[in-house]
Symmetry: C2
């Protein structure tokens, strides 16, 4: 794409240091031949290699995180986003941060405290960030009396890789369960980005499509652009294209027409939070799709890990809906598209009632029909 004065996506630190970012980028992409959000390169002295998501979809560029400051900046600036992906990045960030000290015990432990406290400030509201840092600390605490610093470094890298691998397995498991539900389906519709970029690999809703493709099932995926922040247009369309899946971008207002024309036989989205009765909060626009799908006799599925359930909430009525800044709607594309001073309503999420959800696809299995009993059964499956 030709650069325009409106293309204001921030340049990554790495790209500023590189005279040929596009070349470096394409070489890296070709080497891995996969679209992995994060890759650990080498041993305990290695580095974290991640996609800079702020440059997508116009540029595919990978950042080499060789110091903890680069990891911190990547989380802070949303170069890596999505709850699971942030946790994984933070875990690897601990390993990278410890590379600046030698194997002297006191300095190593002091540096550990320093690095975890620093990383915790990168995105203070991200639950998975603290979860991952806690898990790294528990691992260190469990071995610090018995092992050498060099051995602890190894254990911490193994733990970070385990967090990464567990997430990957979770995604693949969701994909396998979901792909079974799409037998005979030719076209599907999705919303926002519930893809590999937010996780270790494959994602949740997109994992269903990727797994179907792996099984030789050609799907045509319609992608809602997902106003106001366009995660569908910017991220989901890109992920599907990277994997060679037939993807067609539409505006959110076109979903009903796509359903009416018989182009899709299922809708699959992710979820941010699911109540005990199955009511599911997800990106604004999801509820609209569920109502439209019901009106057209099309099943509506949610794909989400068991960690998404919050069974302390009896129903969706207890899920607060965050309202976000009006400028996301009035100045969403680098220029003003609405009158100065206009009132705006910008709910970030909506809640889809359980009765509109055909099934919830988790790593433990499929919840179908969606009710409290089936949710409990599947959550307690492990």
């Amino acid at each position: 794409m030709a650069s325009t004065p409106c293309d204001v996506a921030p340049k990554s630190k790495a790209s500023l240091e590189d005279d040929q970012p596009h070349l470096a980028n394409s070489l890296t992409t070709n080497m891995t031949n996969k679209v992995e959000t994060m890759i650990w390169q080498g041993g305990t002295e290695g580095h974290l290699d991640m996609i800079d998501q702020t440059l997508l979809p116009n540029e595919m560029f990978r950042i080499e995180c060789r110091d903890v400051e680069t990891v911190w900046e990547a989380i802070k600036m949303l170069r890596v986003r999505g709850a699971p992906a942030i946790g994984i990045a933070a875990a690897y960030g601990v390993v990278v941060g410890l590379q600046t000290v030698n194997d002297e015990t006191e300095a190593f432990f002091a540096r550990f405290d320093e690095v975890t406290a620093y990383l915790a400030t990168s995105r203070p509201t991200a639950v998975n960030l603290f979860w991952a840092l806690d898990r790294m600390r528990r691992k260190m605490d469990s071995v610090r009396e018995d092992l050498s610093v060099a051995e602890i470094r190894e254990k911490l890298l193994v733990e970070a890789k385990l967090i990464h691998e567990e997430d990957r397995k979770m995604c693949h498991s969701i994909g396998a369960h979901g792909a079974d539900l799409l037998k005979g389906v030719k076209g599907v519709l999705t919303h926002c980005n519930a893809g590999g970029l937010a996780t270790a690999e494959y994602g949740t809703a997109l994992s269903v499509f990727f797994t179907a493709q792996d099984q030789g099932h050609d799907l045509h995926v319609y992608v809602d652009e997902t106003r106001p922040l366009l995660q569908g247009a910017r991220l989901t369309a890109w992920e599907l294209m990277q994997r060679g899946i037939n993807a067609t971008l539409i505006c959110d207002s076109m979903a009903a027409q796509v359903m009416r024309e018989g182009r899709v036989q299922a809708v699959v989205t992710g979820a941010d939070r699911i109540a005990a009765n199955g009511d599911s909060a997800n990106k604004i626009g999801t509820y609209s799709l569920a109502v439209l799908a019901r009106a057209h006799g099309i099943p509506f599925f949610i794909a989400a890990p068991s960690s998404t359930f919050d069974v302390t909430l009896s129903s969706g009525d207890e899920i607060p809906i965050e309202e976000r800044s009006s400028t996301e709607i009035t100045h969403g594309f680098g220029r003003q598209t609405a009158p100065t001073g206009v009132q705006v309503y910008n709910p970030a999420f909506d809640v889809t009632p359980a009765e509109l959800i055909e099934a919830i696809i988790t790593e433990n299995g499929v919840i179908q029909p969606v009710n409290e009993e089936n949710i409990q059964r599947v959550l307690n499956y492990v």
Copy 2:
């Protein structure tokens, strides 16, 4: 609004010639104290004063059309848009174009041919453009044998004003019929721009809201931004604010949530073409609203003049759906928001089946329930 490098809306000819366009603008606005798309200023030697719609909503600027070239450019560049408004502009354009010749008969008639042929090239697919030019010619033909050139000039100006006034009356009549249907309604939702900017004044769907306000009925109007071209955000929100109506802008994907929260008790949109059975084509996203309204028990209304009906079409199945350029979605705001090469589906319109429409509001009366018999009755009312 502060000017940004992304603010690429073309400057009007007039604003380039004026050192104080904002001052000139506000003076004009204050003088008229109304948001009229077009105003004829003076007698046969006067000029056409119109809002430059390409600068909305960031700038409210009126163009003074003192020559036919300025009228032609305004139609061509969409400074004036909407079928009725284009017809009115062309009619006044004929009057302006004839000001360059004196009252010598042969030169005057030759100039008339030249001016109408020239205006016809400004937007060759606009049916109302040709309709208005034909009407001006019929007027001239009816008087050319009997009147002086000076008298013919007067007659042509009267005819242009009549076209203008008939459209104004049509809008007000739709408004009056529609306002009766909104008794007890506090919140309404609309889509795209069916407003005064596209007509002489008041518009169609917006005329219902303006008339309700004139009757002392305070409505809160939720406005879909209407992707991809954002007519709701750019034009409808602006028109409502100009008239002091409580307006709240939302993304198209938020309409279902707004309905669910009980914020609106009716939906009113315009229509582009209505078949003999009441199936109605309108801006993409209208069908989605009609389905969502039905699911939430909210009445869905269409407001449109009788000229919108095409009774040669037995149903909406016969209405072709125009597909528009993918760049409207991928590069809609001066920057790229989707991956290069992504497939796009961009239908410009959808068709709402008659059974989802509670009533169609025309200048002749209200069609309710919507069926072929009631449509014939109201269309033949005049």
